[in-house]
């Protein structure tokens, strides 16, 4: 699992970003490559969580980086570069998904895999977990983004709130509602987890 939250406090990375931004603003276009190399992974992964389509995730991350290049002058340096970049990327991803939505089903219509035989427990559990991750995309928009960003930022409510430009309390409330919707939609997932643990003990 990646460590996106640590980017916010990574001293050397932050210094490298500052140096590259200064060089870009001084007219050195090639200096932007350093920023792209450092942030390509987090941005592609963030975009992936918004759309769960690899090709589209790369396109959206690419667009976010190009917009960052265009708007580099607007970074006021009050917050960290990563916070500014993630907020900009979230805006880009949000508007991209408004133009071409990923799913048009409601959370109630998101499929839940049927229970499998004991020997297929592992596979069944994986499928169920994947279904839960995909179901996040079927949540109403106001609940979806807090979930995507909260887990992207390794369960850091503050980082997710900064990326969305929202108060932490609002993010917490929306997260709680999103969790409730997901738990209601997937009530049997706990049983499958218990079955897996039992199968492992028996083996």
């Amino acid at each position: 699992m990646k460590n996106t939250a640590s980017y916010e406090s990574a001293g050397s990375g932050a210094n490298a970003d500052l140096a590259d931004v200064d060089r870009v603003l001084a007219g050195d276009v090639n200096a932007f490559e350093g920023i792209v190399r450092r942030w390509q992974g987090p941005l592609v992964n963030m975009a992936w969580r918004y759309c769960r389509d690899r090709g589209r995730a790369e396109e959206m991350a690419q667009e976010a980086l190009v917009r960052a290049w265009r708007g580099l002058k607007q970074w006021r340096r009050e917050g960290s570069f990563s916070t500014w970049l993630f907020a900009l990327a979230a805006n880009v991803f949000r508007s991209e998904l408004k133009r071409f939505p990923v799913v048009d089903v409601s959370i109630e219509d998101a499929p839940e895999p049927a229970a499998r035989a004991a020997q297929e427990v592992e596979l069944s559990l994986r499928q169920s977990e994947d279904a839960v991750r995909r179901a996040v995309l079927a949540l109403p928009v106001r609940y979806r983004e807090p979930v995507v960003l909260f887990y992207f930022h390794e369960m850091d409510v503050g980082a997710a709130a900064r990326t969305m430009g929202m108060p932490e309390g609002t993010v917490k409330a929306r997260l709680a509602r999103a969790r409730a919707l997901l738990k209601k939609r997937f009530p049997h997932l706990e049983d499958q987890q218990a079955a897996k643990e039992l199968a492992e003990k028996e083996a």
Binding site: M1, A61, V66, Y151, E190
Partner: protein, 122 residues
Amino acid sequence: MMKPENLDRILGSEEELSPSSGFVACVMERVRQEAAAPAPLPFPWKRALPGMIVVGVGLVWCLVQLVRMGIAEAKTPVLITMHPATLMTPHIESAGAVAAALGVSLLSWLLARRVVGRRGLV
């Protein structure tokens, strides 16, 4: 019911996706293309401002004239016997207003063409 920690484990345990090998090159190509493109032309305020002032003054003048005409018409007593010359007056005034509006439109069109570097009426 699913436990909260179970949901956290599922949603927090995403495998990391590696960007494709050409990703950096693609982004940098777009950035270089944009950097090489000529900067957008700024709006020529210095050249446009006199024309805009003239048009603005013209519009204000037209408005003042229209208001005056309205006040004058309200004050005029209703004539019981209409002389042919009196009947013609509103038509002539309307024609004047239309001509003035057309003149202002033509003037603004000529100014706009002049601002973008072309001669008017060509």
